[in-house]
C-alpha cells in the first residue's frame, strides 16, 4: 500500500506542486487510528510525539525537553531550525533511533518504542543524514536492502520485493544508475540511490533527514520532486528536516520551526515563514515576500545582539 498506493510512476509530471492551499488535508491530530498491524485500510498513518524528552547519554541536558509534535497524515511536514536546534535529534526520536527519556511517540496509536523493530521498519522509514556503504555495491543491490524488514530470515526475494524495488527506482528516477557501483556515483546520484532504498521499504511514514543538503541544484530539485510526488500521489506521511527555509515553505504542507530544542512555530508555511520568525529563530534580518511559488526569503544580515 502506502507509497505506491497511487500511480506514482512519473515523477517529472508531478503536479507542478506549488500551490500549498490544495493540500491542507485532514487537519492535524485526529483519528485514533486502528491499532492493528500494518497494511490495514487505506488511511494515511499518523505519527504523534507526546511530551517527548530526548537526549544523548553523554550530554547532561536533554536536547529536546518535552515537546509534542504531530505529523500531518498523508502530508509533508518540514522541520526547520538553525544548527543545533534539535531537528535531527527529534527526527531520530520519531524513528525510535534514540530511546526517549520521557514521553512517547505514537504511530497510529502504538508506541513505537514497544514495537518490534521489523514491524516498525515496515511502517516507518528513515533516511539518515550520512549513509555509508561499501563502494562496490550496485545501486540495485542497495535498493534491495530496503526490503529487509519485509523478508524473513531465510526468505529470498519475492515478486513483491522486485515490484517495490522497481517502483522505488522509478520514483527516485535512478533507473539509469541501476547497475552502477555506489562508489562511482556523485553525491547527488548517491542520494537518489539512498532515497530509492528507503522508498523500497514501502512504509506509511517516511522521515528524511536533510535530504537536500550538500547537493547541487539539479539534485536538490530531483529530491524535492520526489517528495512532491509522494505528497500529491500517495498517502505517505512525510517528515523532512530541511536546512533551506524557502525549500521547506515550498515543499511542505506544514512547517515546524525549532530553536534550542523548542518548537517556536508551527502551521502552514505562509503562517510560519515570516520575518519575525526568521529574526527570532534564525537570528537574521530578512525580507519575506509572498509569491505564487510560496514565500520568497531574502536574508539581509545576521543579527549579532547578545
Amino acid at each position: 500500500m502506502s507509497i505506491f498506493g497511487a500511480n506514482a510512476t512519473e515523477p517529472e509530471e508531478s503536479s507542478g506542486g506549488n500551490e500549498l492551499d490544495g493540500a491542507d488535508g485532514p487537519t492535524a491530530v485526529d483519528e485514533p487510528a486502528d491499532p492493528d498491524g500494518p497494511g490495514t485500510g487505506g488511511d494515511p498513518s499518523d505519527l504523534d510525539a507526546e511530551e517527548l524528552v530526548l537526549g544523548y547519554p553523554t550530554a547532561p541536558e536533554p536536547v529536546i525537553d518535552g515537546e509534542s509534535i504531530a505529523a500531518e497524515p498523508g502530508a509533508v511536514t518540514a522541520l526547520v531550525g538553525p544548527n543545533g536546534s534539535g531537528k535531527s535529534t527529534l527526527l531520530k526520536g520519531l524513528a525510535n533511533q534514540i530511546a526517549p527519556e520521557d514521553g512517547s511517540v505514537l504511530l497510529d496509536g502504538r508506541d513505537v518504542h514497544s514495537m518490534d523493530t521489523k514491524s516498525l521498519a515496515k511502517k516507518l522509514g528513515l533516511l539518515s543524514q550520512e549513509s555509508t556503504s561499501p563502494d562496490s555495491i550496485t545501486v540495485e543491490d542497495l535498493v534491495y536492502h530496503g526490503r529487509y524488514p519485509h523478508r524473513g530470515f531465510f526468505e529470498r526475494t519475492t515478486d513483491e520485493d522486485a515490484r517495490a524495488v522497481e517502483r522505488a527506482i522509478d520514483l527516485a528516477g535512478c533507473g539509469h544508475l541501476r547497475d552502477r557501483e555506489v562508489g562511482s556515483l556523485s553525491g547527488g546520484q548517491k542520494q537518489l540511490a539512498w532515497i530509492a532504498m528507503v522508498l523500497a521499504q514501502d512504509t506509511d511514514v517516511l522521515l528524511l533527514d536533510e535530504p537536500t543538503t550538500f547537493l547541487d541544484l539539479h539534485h536538490q530539485m530531483e529530491v524535492m520532486e520526489i517528495i512532491e510526488t509522494l505528497r500529491s500521489e500517495s498517502e505517505v506521511t512525510v517528515v523532512v528536516v530541511l536546512h533551506d527555509i524557502e525549500q521547506a515553505a515550498r515543499l511542505a504542507d506544514r512547517v515546524v520551526a525549532l530553536k534550542d530544542g523548542e518548537v517556536r512555530a508551527r502551521g502552514p508555511a505562509e503562517e510560519v515563514v515570516t520575518e519575525e520568525l526568521l529574526t527570532d529563530v534564525f537570528r537574521v534580518d530578512a525580507d519575506v515576500v509572498d509569491t505564487d511559488r510560496g514565500p520568497r526569503v531574502t536574508p539581509i544580515r545576521a543579527r549579532h545582539e547578545e
Partner: protein, 405 residues
C-alpha cells in the same frame, strides 16, 4: 590467489563488464528459477576454481613426499585406491571413528588389509591436508565475519580476545595443570570463547559499538598476553616450551583423522550459519543507523554473528592452535577479487582459506628438509605469516582502497 584478476575499486571498464555478465538483471532476479545463480558469477567462479586447483596441487605434494617417499603416480594411486573408495566402512572408520563405524554398520571383524602406500597416504598424510582445509575455512570465514561486525579492516578471528584467551589457557594447561593436557584442544577453544564473552561484557554499555568492541579486545588481549608470557618463565623443560610455542603459533604437525572428526561438525555448523547470516552482514556494512532503521535488532545480530565467528575460530584452535594471519588476509583477498557482497565473500573464503592454509602447510612440513636437509617441521603459523605478510603488502601497494568495508 588466482593471479592478475584483482579488481580495482570504483568501476573500471573491465569490471563493468564483469558486472553485466554476472549481475542479476532486475527482471530475472526475483523469479530466477535457480537460487544459486550468483555462484556462477565469473569472478567468483574463477576464484573457486583457482583455489581448488591450488588445494589439489598442494595436497598432492603433501601426500607424495615425506619420510616414506613414493612417486607422484604412486601417491595418486594410493589416494584413489579402490580398496578404500569402494568400501564405505573405511570412510565411516575415518569420519566417525572405529567405534561408531562398528555401531553404524554392525561390522565386527577386521577391516581388510591395505597396501602400505595406501596406509601411509590415508592414515597419515591425507588427514593432515583435510585438517588444513577445515582450519583454513574456519579462519577465513571467522575473519570475514569479524571484519563486517567490527567494521574494521584489521579485524581477524582473534580481534575480540579469542587468541589471547586460548593462548593463556594453553599455557596454564601445559605449565600448571599438566593433568588436563589430554583436553588441551577443548580447553583452548573454551578459553578463547570465554575471553570473547569477557570482551563483550567489558564493551557493553547500553549496547556496544564496533569501536568499543575492538578496544575491549585490546584490553583483554594485553592482560592475557602478559599473563601468558609470564607463564613461560615457569615452564621447567624445553619440551613444554616447544609444545606451547607450537600451540600458540599454530601447527598441523601430527594431526590425524581424530582432528578432522573433532573440527568437522562445528565447521559445518559455523559455515551454514555464516552463509545464512550473509544478508545480515551485508546490512551491517551499510552502517549501524541504516541497519537499525531497516528494522535489524542490531545488538542481537552482532552478538549472534560474533558467536558464529568465535565458534569457527575455536574449532580451528582446537585442532591447530592459533594460526595467525589467515583470518586477516583471506577476507581481503576475496573481497578484492569478488567484491563486497558477503554472500560471495563467505563462499570465496571457503575456498581461498583452505588454499592458503594447505599451501602454507607444504612449506611448514617440507620446507626445512628442502632448505637445510634437516628432517624438521616448523609450525604452519610461521609460514602463513611469512607468505601472508608480503602478499598483504603487495595488495596494499596495489590497491587504492584496501578494505572496501
Amino acid at each position: 590467489m588466482t593471479g592478475g584478476e584483482t579488481r580495482t575499486d570504483g568501476g573500471s571498464v573491465a569490471e563493468g563488464e564483469g558486472r553485466t555478465v554476472g549481475g542479476e538483471s532486475p527482471a530475472r532476479r526475483p523469479g530466477e528459477g535457480n537460487r544459486l545463480g550468483w555462484l556462477f558469477e565469473q569472478r567468483l567462479a574463477a576464484v573457486i576454481a583457482g583455489s581448488l586447483a591450488l588445494v589439489v596441487v598442494a595436497g598432492l605434494v603433501q601426500v607424495s613426499f615425506g619420510t616414506y617417499s613414493m612417486t607422484v603416480g604412486g601417491a595418486w594411486r594410493a589416494v584413489f585406491d579402490p580398496a578404500i573408495l569402494l568400501d564405505p566402512r573405511w570412510f565411516l572408520n575415518f569420519l566417525l571413528g572405529e567405534e561408531l563405524m562398528r555401531a553404524a554398520t554392525g561390522f565386527q571383524g577386521e577391516l581388510p588389509r591395505l597396501a602400505r602406500e595406501t596406509l601411509v597416504v590415508w592414515n597419515i598424510r591425507l588427514p593432515r591436508v583435510l585438517v588444513g582445509v577445515v582450519v583454513g575455512m574456519n579462519l577465513a570465514v571467522s575473519g570475514a565475519i569479524f571484519q563486517a561486525v567490527t567494521r574494521n579492516e584489521l579485524a581477524s578471528p582473534f580481534i575480540l580476545g579469542v587468541s589471547s584467551g586460548a593462548g593463556l589457557m594453553i599455557l596454564l594447561t601445559l605449565v600448571v595443570f599438566g593433568g588436563l593436557s589430554t583436553f588441551l584442544p577443548i580447553v583452548a577453544a573454551l578459553g578463547g570463547s570465554v575471553a570473547f564473552l569477557v570482551v563483550y561484557a567489558i564493551a557493553w554499555k547500553n549496547g556496544t559499538s564496533p569501536v568499543r568492541l575492538v578496544l575491549a579486545g585490546v584490553i583483554v588481549g594485553t592482560v592475557f598476553n602478559s599473563l601468558q608470557t609470564g607463564l613461560f618463565f615457569f615452564a621447567d623443560d624445553i619440551g613444554v616450551v616447544q609444545s606451547a610455542i607450537q600451540w600458540t603459533t599454530g601447527s598441523l604437525t601430527g594431526t590425524d583423522w581424530e582432528q578432522v572428526r573433532m573440527a568437522l561438525p562445528w565447521t559445518l555448523v559455523a559455515v551454514t550459519l555464516s552463509l545464512a547470516g550473509s544478508r545480515q552482514l551485508n546490512l551491517l556494512l551499510l552502517g549501524e543507523q541504516t541497519a537499525k532503521s531497516l528494522g535489524m535488532s542490531i545488538e542481537r545480530v552482532r552478538f549472534a554473528l560474533s558467536g558464529v565467528a568465535v565458534l569457527a575460530a575455536a574449532a580451528s584452535i582446537a585442532v591447530a592452535g592459533i594460526v595467525s594471519f589467515v583470518g586477516l588476509i583471506v577476507p581481503h583477498v576475496v573481497r578484492n577479487l569478488v567484491g563486497s557482497d558477503y554472500k560471495r565473500v563467505i563462499v570465496g573464503c571457503l575456498f581461498v582459506g583452505p588454499a592458503l592454509m594447505v599451501g602454507a602447510d607444504v612449506g611448514a612440513r617440507l620446507g626445512m628438509s628442502v632448505l637445510t636437509g634437516a628432517d624438521a617441521q616448523v609450525p604452519v603459523g610461521i609460514v602463513t605469516g611469512l607468505v601472508g605478510g608480503p602478499y598483504f603488502l603487495y595488495l596494499m601497494r596495489r590497491q587504492q582502497n584496501m578494505g572496501d568495508l
